[in-house]
C-alpha cells in the first residue's frame, strides 16, 4: 500500500483516471491554440519587440542610455538580474528538494516551475550581458584558454563565481527539466495524429519506448540530477549574495546575506510559480491537478520564507547599530528615511507585512487573494534588490560623491525585454509542451486521488494498461515504499 494517511486530502481531485490525466494534459498540446492564448502570446511578443529595441539600443549606443552615474554603478540591471535569478529558485526547489523530501504534491507543479526556472535564468543572463560595458567581450569572464600569455580570470572576484554558479544552474536545470519531459513527449508522440507532430515529438522524445529499462534509467538520472540540483538551490543565490556581501559598501557588506538571499529567492520564486499556476490552472482547466491544496501549501512556503526575510531585515538593522560603524548605521537609516524611503517601505510592506496574511487559512485558500499577494511579493522582492543596490550605493563613504539614480526609458525597456522574453517562452512552453508531468501525476492518482476504487472500475481496458505502466513508474520511483496494491 502506498503510505498515504487517509486523513490527508487527495492530491488530484475529480476522480481522475490515468487516461483522464493523459487526456487532460495533452489536450492543450494537441488542440489548436485558443484565442486567449493568441492574445496573451501577442502581448508577450509586443513586449519582447519593444524590449528588443531598447536592448539593442543599449548595446549599440552604450549603457549610458541608462540612468546610472559615477556613484551608482549598478541599479536596474543588477536588480533585475538578482530578481530573475531569485525567481528561478522555486523550480529547482520544487523539483529537487521537495522530491528528496517526498512532497508528492509537487508533482503537479514541478514541470511548469522548472520551465519557469529556466526562462527566469535566461532573463537573468540577459542582464549579465547587458550590464557589461563591452558585452562582446563577455567570454573573457570565462576561464578559457587564450593567447594573452598567462592571462586568466580573477578567481577572487564574486562575479567569476557568479559565472560558474549561473551557468551550472542553467545547465543542470535545463537537463533536469528535459529529462523529465521525455516520457511525456513520448506520450504525445504516441497519441499524435499528424505526421509532423509525430516526427517532431518523436525527435524530442529521444526514442523513448516506455520499457522497463527506459524507466529504470530515467529514474536513476532523475535521482542523480535531483541530488545535483539540491545544493544548487542553496549555492546559486548564496553566490549571488556574495557579489554584495564580499564588497565593502555599507549596506552590502553583510554576513547575513547568503541565507537571507536564499530565503528571499525561494520567497519570490514561489510567488512567481503561484502567479503562473493560478493562471495556467484556470486557462487550461487543470483545477483538478493543481488543487487548492497546492495553493495552500505554496502560500505556507511563501509565508515562512517571507518571515525569514523579514527577520533578516530586522537583523541587518540590529547589526548596523551593534557594529558601531557610522557608515553602516547611516546606510540603514538612509534606507528608511533617506530619499529612497519609498522604495524601502514598499519593500517592507510587500515582503514582510503582506505574507503574514497567510496565517489565515481562508486567505491562504482564496485564489484571488493568493494571486494578488503573489504579485505583491514579487514587487516587494524587486524593491528589496533595488533598495540593497541603489540605496546603499547612492550614499556611501564620501558625501562629496553622493548622488541619486533615476531610471530612463531604456532601464525600463530592458526590464520589459525580460518580461517579453519570459512570457513568450512560457506561452510557447504552455502551448507545445505538457505543463504538468503526466508520468509523475499518474503515479499519485492511485493513492492520492479521490476514490480510487471508483476510478479503477470505470477505467477502460486500454487505460488499465496505461495505469499498469504508471504503477511501474511509481514502484521504481519510490523504491523504498511498499509497492502499490
Amino acid at each position: 500500500m502506498n503510505v498515504t494517511a487517509s486523513v490527508r486530502p487527495p492530491l488530484v481531485n475529480g476522480g481522475k483516471t490515468v487516461a483522464d490525466v493523459t487526456h487532460d494534459i495533452s489536450r492543450q498540446v494537441e488542440a489548436g491554440p485558443t484565442k486567449l492564448w493568441w492574445a496573451a502570446f501577442v502581448v508577450s511578443l509586443g513586449l519582447l519587440a519593444w524590449g528588443t529595441y531598447c536592448l539593442l539600443t543599449t548595446w549599440w549606443v552604450g549603457i549610458g542610455v541608462w540612468g546610472l552615474n559615477k556613484t551608482v554603478g549598478w541599479a536596474w540591471d543588477i536588480t533585475n538580474f538578482v530578481w530573475w535569478v531569485g525567481i528561478g529558485h522555486a523550480g529547482t526547489l520544487i523539483s529537487a528538494v521537495l522530491l528528496l523530501f517526498r512532497q508528492k504534491w509537487r508533482m503537479a507543479i514541478n514541470r511548469s516551475a522548472e520551465a519557469m526556472t529556466i526562462f527566469a535564468v535566461l532573463c537573468a543572463a540577459t542582464f549579465i550581458l547587458a550590464h557589461m560595458g563591452r558585452p562582446w567581450l563577455a567570454h573573457w569572464a570565462l576561464p578559457l584558454g587564450n593567447t594573452y600569455g598567462s592571462l586568466w580570470v580573477n578567481f577572487n572576484s564574486p562575479l567569476v563565481w557568479d559565472v560558474f554558479a549561473i551557468s551550472t544552474y542553467l545547465t543542470v536545470s535545463l537537463v533536469f527539466w528535459y529529462i523529465g519531459l521525455i516520457p511525456d513527449l513520448a506520450t504525445i508522440r504516441d497519441r499524435a495524429n499528424t505526421p509532423i507532430r509525430r516526427f517532431v515529438y518523436g525527435i524530442l522524445a529521444f526514442g523513448w519506448n516506455g520499457g522497463a529499462k527506459d524507466w529504470s534509467r530515467y529514474e536513476a538520472v532523475s535521482l542523480v540530477l535531483a541530488g545535483l540540483s539540491t545544493p544548487l538551490v542553496l549555492s546559486v543565490h548564496t553566490i549571488v549574495s556574495m557579489d554584495f556581501a564580499t564588497s565593502l559598501v555599507p549596506g552590502w557588506h553583510t554576513t547575513i546575506f547568503p541565507p537571507y538571499f536564499v530565503a528571499g529567492a525561494i520567497f519570490s520564486g514561489f510567488a512567481m510559480v503561484q502567479t503562473l499556476l493560478l493562471v495556467t490552472r484556470t486557462v487550461f482547466k487543470l483545477e483538478d491537478y493543481i488543487t487548492i491544496e497546492h495553493i495552500d501549501s505554496m502560500n505556507k512556503i511563501i509565508m515562512v520564507t517571507g518571515s525569514v526575510v523579514g527577520i533578516a531585515y530586522i537583523t541587518e538593522f540590529f547589526i548596523a547599530w551593534y557594529s558601531g560603524v557610522m557608515y553602516e548605521q547611516y546606510a540603514f537609516t538612509n534606507r528608511m528615511f533617506g530619499p529612497y524611503w519609498w522604495a524601502y517601505w514598499s519593500m517592507m510592506s510587500c515582503n514582510v507585512i503582506s505574507p503574514q496574511m497567510f496565517w489565515f487559512r481562508k486567505l491562504r485558500r482564496s485564489i484571488a487573494f493568493s494571486f494578488i499577494i503573489s504579485i505583491v511579493v514579487n514587487i516587494g522582492m524587486w524593491f528589496e534588490r533595488f533598495v540593497i543596490i541603489v540605496s546603499s550605493l547612492h550614499r556611501d563613504f564620501l558625501p562629496s560623491s553622493w548622488a541619486m539614480f533615476s531610471p530612463t526609458m531604456y532601464d525600463i525597456g530592458d526590464y520589459i525585454f525580460s518580461f517579453g522574453l519570459f512570457f513568450t517562452l512560457f506561452f510557447l512552453f504552455a502551448k507545445f509542451l505538457p505543463v504538468v508531468n503526466m508520468a509523475e501525476v499518474k503515479s499519485i492518482i492511485k493513492g492520492s486521488s479521490a476514490d480510487p476504487k471508483e476510478e479503477y472500475n470505470s477505467s477502460s481496458f486500454g487505460n488499465r494498461e496505461a495505469a499498469g505502466r504508471a504503477v511501474a513508474t511509481e514502484a521504481s520511483a519510490d523504491a523504498t515504499q511498499s509497492p502499490n496494491i
Binding site: 550590464h131 580573477n154 567569476v160 564580499t246 538612509n334 558625501p399 562629496s400
Partner: protein, 1038 residues
C-alpha cells in the same frame, strides 16, 4: 579440413587482387617512418630549381628597387625624436593674468603647459586658465584666414584696407588689455610716430583702476603695487579674492601658501581675515570670515581704519555704524601686533576704499615689506576713461579706425551694446585669433596667432622680464597681431626682430653677466625669463618635469621696496564716501568673476567650461547665488542639481537664470558671475550661461560690481544644473580631519581620528588586521606615494585641469554632468562645516546642512592607490591590478565594464565610459578627441579610452615610465622630483607632493616621516585599504 574450403580474409585476397599481392609482400601495411621521410624529402632537381629561383629573384630585386624617402628631413634636426617631448619656455599673458610657463611639445605639437619654476613671479605655479589655455590653440572656431566684411581675404588685401583706413584723417585707436610688454610699448610708440592721430587705449575687463587712482593720490604713483603675501603674518582681505581671481592669483597663492605650511619645526601659520559678501575662494580659505554686504565693505574698511589708527596713535575718524566692531577690533589687534608683517587688501574698484586701505597699510608700516610700490604690477593698467573715450569718439564720429587686440569690449563692457552700434561709424579692426562679439562687429579681422604661435615679451612687474616664443609654426593663415601692427606702422621688420631689438636696447644693458647679446638672448629664451639683479641660473639643472621644493632649489628674486615717505590720501573725503555707501538697504547684486572663466576670454574652452567652480561645484554656466535664508524666502531649493529659474531685475534690465543656494553668503546679497553668455563664440561656449556685464555699475566713473536696486523673483520653472557635488558637508565624517592652530600647538595630532577595531583580542589598529599576506605589499623597487597638505591646498583646481589635459580626460558636456557622469579623475571635494557637529548629537539632517557662515575644507581626491585595493579583488577579468611599485593599474584593453570596481571603491574615484566619448562628434561635440583639429591636443602617451571601460588616475603612470626609462638610459636611479604627476606639477601652492617612498630622502618620504606621527592621515583608515595617498590635517588659525 577439406582442400576445397578456402579461408579468406578479404575479398581482395579471395579474388587475388593485384593490390593485395603487392601489399602482401610488406610486413606492415603502413609506410615506415623512414619510408615517409624519403617520400617527402625534396629531390635534387627541386632543390636546384629553388636555389636558382631564389638567386635570380634576389639579383632582380637588387637591380631597380625604387628609393623611397621615408624621412622627410634631409638632415634630421637635433633633438627631434618624436617619442620625446620638447619643452619651450614661454609666457602666458591673457586677460590680465601673467604666468611663466613651459610648453611641452610632442611630435611638434604643444600638448601641455606647465609652470616655469625659474620665475620669481609665479614660481612654477599655474592656474586653471593657464593649464587649459593649450586647448585654445586647437580651437576649431579660430579664424583660419583674415577676413574683410566676413569674407575670407588675403593678407595683402587686409594690409591695403588697413593702410587706407588709418589715412582718413580721423583718429585711429588701438584698444588692448594691459600689455606689460616692453616691445609692445615700443611698437605703440612707433605707431604713434607713424600714424597721425594714433592713440593706444588700455581697457581691462576687470580693472584695478581704483587702486591706481588711490595710489596716485596717496603716494603720487599711479600704479598697482606688488604684494608679497609670503612675508605677511596677518592678511586682511576686503573682498579681494587674491587666491582666486584678483590681480595675480598664481603668484599670491604660492606666496600665501608658504605661510600655511606646518611641520615639527614650524608651528606657526599666518592668519587670514576675509570680509566679503559672497563666498570666494579666498573667503573659503579664511581663518576668520565676516559676511558683509557689498555696499557695507567700505564701512568695514573705515572701521578697521579707525581701529588701526586708535592702536597706532593716528587720528581716528567718525565712528562707523553697521559693522561688527568686535571682529574689527580683533583684526586690528592682530594687524598691529604684526606691523610690517601684514597686508590689508581690498578688491573694490572704489578709490575711496583703496585710499583707506592704503592708509591702514601705511600706518602698519607694510610698505617696503609686504607691499612694494617700486616693482608695481603692470598687468592691470586699464582705466575706465580710456574705453569711455573710445565709445564717445565712435559715437561722435571723430574716430575713423579702431583696432581691438585680444579684447572684447562689446561683450565685457557694460555699454557693449552701444559700442557695437557705434562701431558702424568707423572701421573696426579685430586682431583676435578667434571670433568674439567685438570681432564680429568689426569690418576687418586681421586673424592673429594664438599665443603659442607668437613671439612676445612681458614685464609683469618692473624688472621681471619674460619671453614668449612660439612652440609650433602657425596652424592657419594667420599673422601675429604685432606683425600686422608693425606693417601698419611701416616698420619693415618682423616682430621677432623687433622683440630682439627691444631686448638689445632695453634689457641687455640691465645685466653684466653676458657680454654678447646673442648669448644673453639665448640664455633668456632658454630660461624664458630674465630678472634684473638676480644671480645667474647657469649651471642649475633644468628638468622640465622637475619639482622638488622649488623654493628650496631656486633662489628667487625678492625685491624689498622702499616705503613711501608720506601718505597723502584724503582720508576725510574717503571716509565720507565709503560710509555714505552704507545707506544701501534692501537687496544688492554683487558681480564677480569665476575661477575658470574670469572675463570670458577663454569662453570657448570646453575644459574650462566643464571645470567645476571650486565653491559652487557647478559647471557649464553661470547662475544666481542666493544665501540660504533668501532661498527659503524665495522658495528656491537646490537638490541634486535641480533648481528653479529666477528672474533678476536691475533697473530696466532683467535676466532669467538658474539659482543656487550658497552658504556663507550675506543674506541680502545676490551673486552673479560675469564671463558667461558670449554670443559670438565657438561651439563649446555657445548658449553657455548669460552675460552679466551689462549690470556692472559705471555710475561713479569706476566700474563697480556692487549694484543696488535689485529685485529677484522665483519663476518656479524647473532647471537642471551640471552640479558635480550635491552634498555639501562632510556629514560629521572624519574624511577630512581638522583642528585649530592652538589645538595643534598643544598636540600635533589634534583633529586626527585613530580608528580602532574591536576584536576578541582587544582593540587593534586596522592595519594590524588583514586578510592578506604581508608579502603581497612588498615594494622592492619603487613605492610611489603622495602627500596632500589640506592646509596649503586652496582648492583652486589647477591640478584638476592639469590632470584633464595630461590624461586626455574626456569633456562630456553639460547633459552628462547633469547625469552625474563627469569624467574627472581628480576632483576637489569641497566640504562646508555643518550646523551642528556629531559630538553635539546632531541628526543626520543637521550634519548634512551647511552652517550659515561655514568653515570650508578642500580635499583633492583621486585614486588613492590602495595597497589593499577593494577594486582589484572584485574585477572578474583582472583588468585592474596592483603593480610592484604600489600603483593600482588599470588595463583598459582587458576591461569588460562590469563597474563592480567603481561600486566597491570607497573613494568613488573611478570613472566609466558610458558612451563612446571619442569618435562621437554628434553627441559629444565639445570633447577634444572628436575633431581632427582639437584632437591634436591629446597626449600621445595616454590611451584615449573606448566605450564601456573603466578609467581612473594611475599617478600619471606614463610620466613614471618616462622618468624611469630616462634614468635607466643614464644608468642611474630616478632622482626625487624628476618624476612628478600632472597634479603635483600644476599645483601653485605645492600642496601635492609626489615621489618614491622607498627613497629615504624623497620629499614625500620625509613628509610622511615627519608628519606621520602628527598630521598625516589616510582617508577611511578603518577599512585598511592602505592608500598610498596621505593627507595632512587642516589647521585653522582661528
Amino acid at each position: 579440413m577439406s582442400q576445397d574450403t578456402i579461408y579468406w580474409r578479404s575479398f581482395e585476397e579471395l579474388t587475388n587482387h593485384p593490390e593485395f599481392i603487392k601489399d602482401s609482400l610488406r610486413e606492415f601495411n603502413i609506410p615506415s617512418p623512414t619510408e615517409l621521410e624519403q617520400a617527402q624529402a625534396p629531390d635534387r632537381r627541386d632543390f636546384l630549381k629553388k636555389v636558382g629561383f631564389g638567386l635570380s629573384a634576389a639579383a632582380l630585386a637588387s637591380c631597380e628597387a625604387p628609393v623611397r624617402k621615408v624621412i622627410p628631413f634631409l638632415a634630421n634636426p637635433d633633438n627631434v625624436d618624436y617619442s620625446n617631448a620638447n619643452w619651450y619656455a614661454s609666457s602666458y599673458m591673457l586677460d590680465g593674468e601673467y604666468c611663466a610657463i613651459l610648453v611641452k611639445t610632442k611630435a611638434g605639437r604643444p600638448i601641455k603647459i606647465e609652470g616655469n619654476k625659474l620665475s620669481s613671479v609665479t614660481r612654477g605655479g599655474t592656474s586653471v586658465r593657464v593649464q587649459a589655455s593649450v586647448l585654445g590653440l586647437y580651437d576649431n572656431s579660430r579664424y583660419v584666414k583674415p577676413q574683410i566684411d566676413k569674407k575670407n581675404a588675403t593678407w595683402q588685401q587686409v594690409d591695403e584696407a588697413l593702410a587706407a583706413a588709418v589715412k582718413t584723417g580721423k583718429r585711429t585707436v588701438l584698444v588692448t588689455p594691459s600689455m606689460p610688454s616692453p616691445s609692445f610699448e615700443a611698437l605703440v610708440a612707433r605707431m604713434q610716430a607713424a600714424i597721425p592721430g594714433f592713440e593706444h587705449v588700455v581697457y581691462d575687463a576687470l580693472p584695478a583702476s581704483g587702486i591706481i587712482k588711490a595710489n596716485k593720490e596717496s603716494f603720487g604713483q599711479a600704479v598697482v603695487p606688488s604684494y608679497d603675501f609670503s612675508k605677511a603674518n596677518t592678511v586682511v582681505s576686503f573682498d579681494a579674492d587674491f587666491l582666486g581671481t584678483w590681480l595675480s592669483p598664481v603668484e599670491f597663492s604660492r606666496a600665501w601658501a608658504r605661510t600655511r605650511k606646518l611641520g615639527p619645526n614650524n608651528k606657526r601659520i599666518s592668519k587670514l581675515f576675509v570680509v566679503e559678501p559672497l563666498m570666494s575662494l579666498t573667503g573659503a580659505n579664511a581663518d576668520q570670515r565676516i559676511m558683509a554686504k557689498g555696499s557695507a565693505l567700505g564701512s568695514h574698511v573705515a572701521a578697521l581704519y579707525n581701529a588701526v589708527m586708535a592702536r597706532t596713535g593716528g587720528s581716528a575718524r567718525a565712528v562707523v555704524a553697521g559693522v561688527d566692531q568686535k571682529a574689527i577690533d580683533k583684526m586690528a589687534d592682530d594687524l598691529v601686533a604684526n606691523r610690517g608683517r601684514s597686508v590689508v587688501v581690498a578688491g573694490s574698484n572704489d578709490p575711496a576704499q583703496q585710499t583707506l586701505v592704503n592708509g591702514i597699510n601705511f600706518a602698519l608700516g607694510n610698505y617696503g615689506t609686504t607691499i612694494n610700490l617700486n616693482t608695481p604690477v603692470r598687468t592691470k593698467q586699464g582705466t575706465e576713461e580710456g574705453i569711455a573715450g573710445v565709445l564717445a569718439g565712435l559715437e561722435n564720429g571723430s574716430i575713423g579706425t579702431v583696432l581691438f587686440y585680444n579684447t572684447d569690449p562689446v561683450y565685457t563692457h557694460p555699454q557693449g551694446a552701444a559700442l557695437k552700434a557705434a562701431l558702424k561709424n568707423a572701421t573696426g579692426v579685430s586682431l583676435d585669433s578667434a571670433p568674439t562679439d567685438t570681432a564680429d562687429a568689426c569690418k576687418i579681422v586681421a586673424a592673429a596667432h594664438h599665443y603659442l604661435e607668437s613671439w612676445n615679451d612681458f614685464e609683469p612687474k618692473t624688472g621681471f622680464f619674460s619671453l614668449q616664443q612660439p612652440a609650433i609654426s602657425p596652424l592657419f593663415e594667420t599673422r601675429q597681431a604685432e606683425d600686422t601692427l608693425l606693417k601698419l606702422a611701416g616698420v619693415g621688420e618682423t616682430y621677432y626682430d623687433f622683440v630682439r631689438a627691444t631686448w638689445r636696447s632695453r634689457v641687455f644693458p640691465q645685466q653684466t653677466e653676458y657680454k654678447g647679446f646673442n648669448q644673453f638672448w639665448n640664455y633668456a629664451l632658454h630660461d624664458g625669463i630674465f630678472e634684473v639683479g638676480r644671480p645667474s641660473l647657469r649651471g642649475k639643472d633644468f628638468a622640465p618635469n622637475g619639482t622638488g621644493d622649488a623654493d628650496e632649489r631656486y633662489e628667487y628674486l625678492s625685491l624689498s621696496g622702499t616705503a613711501p615717505a608720506a601718505f597723502a590720501g584724503n582720508v576725510g573725503s574717503a571716509m565720507s564716501a565709503v560710509t555714505g555707501q552704507a545707506a544701501g538697504q534692501g537687496l544688492e547684486l554683487v558681480l564677480y568673476p569665476l575661477m575658470g572663466m574670469m572675463a570670458g576670454v577663454q569662453g570657448n574652452n570646453p575644459m574650462l567650461l566643464e571645470f567645476p567652480d571650486p565653491i559652487s561645484r557647478v559647471t557649464w554656466e553661470n547662475y544666481v547665488t542666493l544665501a540660504p535664508t533668501k532661498a527659503v524666502e524665495l522658495g528656491v531649493s537646490l537638490a541634486e542639481g535641480r533648481t528653479s529659474l529666477v528672474k533678476l531685475k536691475v533697473g530696466g534690465k532683467e535676466l532669467t537664470m538658474p539659482a543656487i543656494v550658497q552658504p556663507g553668503q550675506e543674506k541680502n546679497t545676490i551673486g552673479l558671475a560675469v564671463g558667461y553668455g558670449r554670443t559670438v563664440v565657438g561651439e563649446a561656449g555657445k548658449g553657455v550661461g548669460q552675460n552679466a556685464f551689462p549690470f556692472v555699475n559705471l555710475s561713479g566713473g569706476f566700474q563697480s560690481y556692487v549694484v543696488s536696486g535689485v529685485s529677484v523673483e522665483n519663476t518656479k520653472e524647473e532647471y537642471m544644473l551640471g552640479h558635480v557635488q550635491t552634498s555639501h558637508t562632510n556629514a560629521g565624517r572624519p574624511v577630512i580631519q581638522e583642528a585649530t592652530l592652538a589645538e595643534y600647538q598643544k598636540n600635533p595630532t589634534a583633529g586626527r581620528e585613530f580608528p580602532m577595531i574591536t576584536t576578541p583580542d582587544g582593540k587593534m589598529k586596522p592595519t594590524d588586521l588583514s586578510l592578506w599576506k604581508t608579502e603581497v605589499n612588498k615594494r622592492p623597487n619603487h613605492a610611489w606615494g603622495m602627500v596632500i597638505d589640506l592646509n596649503s591646498c586652496i582648492g583652486c583646481g589647477a591640478c584638476v585641469v592639469g590632470c584633464n589635459v595630461e590624461n586626455n580626460v574626456a569633456v562630456v558636456g553639460k547633459q552628462e554632468v547633469v547625469n552625474r557622469r563627469e569624467m574627472h579623475w581628480l576632483r576637489i571635494d569641497r566640504y562646508y562645516s555643518s550646523t551642528k557637529t556629531r559630538e553635539e548629537n546632531a541628526t543626520n539632517e543637521e550634519l548634512e546642512t551647511a552652517a550659515e557662515n561655514p568653515r570650508v575644507t578642500f580635499q583633492p581626491m583621486m585614486c588613492q592607490q590602495c595597497n589593499n585595493a577593494p577594486c582589484e579583488t572584485v574585477c572578474p577579468v583582472l583588468a585592474t591590478t596592483h603593480s610592484t611599485e604600489g600603483l593600482n593599474q588599470m588595463t583598459y584593453n582587458r576591461c569588460i565594464g562590469t563597474r563592480y570596481c567603481a561600486n566597491n571603491c570607497p573613494y568613488k574615484v573611478r570613472r566609466f565610459n558610458w558612451f563612446s566619448y571619442p569618435q562621437n562628434k554628434e553627441n559629444f561635440p565639445t570633447n577634444p578627441a572628436n575633431d581632427p583639429l582639437t584632437r591634436m591636443v591629446l597626449n600621445p602617451d595616454v590611451t584615449v579610452r573606448a566605450r564601456g571601460v573603466m578609467e581612473k588616475c594611475t599617478f600619471c603612470i606614463q610620466r613614471i615610465q618616462d622618468g624611469k626609462l630616462t634614468a635607466k638610459k643614464d644608468g642611474r636611479r630616478p632622482v626625487d622630483g624628476e618624476i612628478v604627476t600632472a597634479c603635483a606639477q600644476a599645483c601653485p601652492t605645492e600642496a601635492i607632493i609626489f615621489g618614491d617612498m622607498n627613497d629615504p630622502n624623497s620629499r614625500v618620504q620625509l613628509a610622511i616621516k615627519e608628519q606621520y606621527s602628527e598630521r598625516a592621515f589616510r582617508v577611511l583608515e578603518e577599512y585598511n585599504t592602505r592608500p598610498n595617498v596621505s593627507y595632512l590635517t587642516k589647521i585653522r588659525n582661528a
